[in-house]
């Protein structure tokens, strides 16, 4: 995808310590509201959506020992920006599995997809899926220490 580096920002990579997706959304959502990247109601919309349409992506189908990721997102009207906000969890938290909602997966990284264009030609999700499914990305991300290193790794 062209201009990948513009879809991420070292200042939009957060190290989070949360015990549930609700807590995570409160924390990250609060920071995004402060930066005016999302609109009031974002946290509530994200939380409601995650309960009904979960976004945990099981990466053990890619690498048997891999922890998983999640791609929380909501409707375009809550977003003022197009890009991806990354949260590294101190300890994995359970997200329900997007394609088998009755199951949960242990999520170590959440990639919040912000999209303010309904009929966008560049599909952020397909870029992220290509990233997640090549190599052992969770272990590689875990080996990095700084936000700048994570940014470089994701956008290279």
């Amino acid at each position: 995808m062209a201009n990948t580096e513009k879809l991420f920002d070292p200042d939009l990579i957060f190290f989070e310590d949360a015990s549930s997706f609700e807590e995570l959304f409160q924390s990250v959502g609060g920071k995004l509201l402060e930066k005016k990247l999302v609109n009031p109601g974002y946290i509530e919309a994200m939380t409601e959506r995650e309960k009904n349409f979960p976004t945990g992506l099981d990466l053990s189908v890619v690498n048997p020992d891999s922890l998983s990721v999640a791609i929380p997102h909501t409707e375009v009207e809550y977003c003022n920006w197009k890009g991806v906000v990354v949260a590294r969890l101190k300890e994995p938290i359970a997200f329900h599995n997007m394609i088998s909602p009755d199951k949960t997966v242990p999520v170590k990284y959440a990639f919040f997809i912000l999209n303010n264009e309904k009929n966008s030609q560049t599909n952020l999700l397909s870029y992220l899926m290509g990233f997640f499914t090549s190599g052992d990305k969770v272990s590689e991300l875990d080996s990095l220490n700084t936000k700048e290193e994570i940014y470089q790794f994701i956008t290279k």
Partner: protein, 100 residues
Amino acid sequence: MIKVLAACGAGVNSSHQIKDAVEEEMRNRGYDVHADAVMIKDVNEEMISKYDIFAPISTPDLGFEIPIPVVEAGPILYRMPAMSAPVFDELENVIKSLNK
């Protein structure tokens, strides 16, 4: 032409990826397929009756009986042949059974 309705929670990321993948792969397999991408909450009986196949990520509770064949398309999102091939195969079988 076969009409496929792709759907996901927000109607913006996953359903569009399913739409693009289904159209491309089914075209490669020789079928004339058009897909639309919508939000699950916008799907009603009138809308779904205009399509031949419903392709959600996983089968949702729509509050009514889904009157057309359902193909759960979630595994397509991985963009890995091992994950997506069974979904495309099932889709192709359903298309054949439509006899259109």
